[in-house]
Amino acid sequence: MSQTPHRPLSPHLQIWRFHITMFTSILHRATGLALVVGSVLVAAWLLAIGITASGICPQAYTVFLTFAASPLGLLVWFGLSLAAFLHLTGGLRHLVWDLGQGFQLKSANAMSWWGLIGGIVLTIIFWVVLFATGKVVL
């Protein structure tokens, strides 16, 4: 494998001059990685229900909720919901590009901005509804 070290690597973060499509591209990767952590937490929730219900560890669900409903836990869920909505709008943008649409500089920039704004707005609406309906209390 003596040839492979000469292949180019993907450009790293510090190479880029700031522009919005570069920012949302990096954000799409970062939110994707954050959501991997989110999937681990949801798997832990299912596991907590499972081992509580089966009697392996009856206090597991209470322990999970103590962390999940704590102020720090809520901050983590807030961050994960932001990551989820941003990854959703970012993913939709990429699907549009995959269909061969929106490659003009102007529309590419516009989609990036609208995805960014849309993801943030959806997150805010989601949490306003959660607090307004009493689903989440601090």
């Binding site: 299912l46 596991l47 959703l88 689903k135």
Partner: protein
């Protein structure tokens, strides 16, 4: 040396790589489309279960339709994560087989934890 490599090996390698890459590219897309629907369902369900306590959560998990959809959501989520994490490995550590293997193991552990929890709750 590079020339002989190109003549003897690379065209065969490229052909294999091309097929392999296309499958992963397609998997990334169809799982993302599926996750728009399943993720929406999961978010809606999470909204309903929040602050309702253990019994409501357990009853939700034990309903066959919910259990099936959750299992499906996890299989596709973990698959999508696997492809995404592998893209990171290939971008920054293109020669690391260890990280590719670690990624596979990690994804299988997450899937096993979720499906195992689901199974235990469903059976209880």
């Amino acid at each position: 040396m590079v020339d002989s490599y190109l003549r003897q090996r690379s065209s065969k390698d490229w052909k294999t790589s091309e097929k392999h890459g296309a499958a992963e590219w397609l998997a990334e897309r169809w799982t993302s489309v599926a996750l728009i629907v399943l993720g929406g369902w999961a978010l809606w369900s999470a909204f309903g279960l929040m602050n309702q306590g253990y019994e409501v959560a357990l009853a939700f998990v034990k309903a066959p339709v919910n259990a099936g959809l959750m299992a499906l959501t996890f299989v596709i989520t973990v698959w999508h994560s696997y492809v995404g994490l592998n893209a990171n490995v290939l971008d920054y550590f293109p020669n690391s087989r260890a990280l590719k293997l670690l990624n596979l193991l990690f994804c299988l552990v997450v899937l096993a934890a979720a499906l195992g929890g689901l199974f235990l709750a469903f059976k209880a």
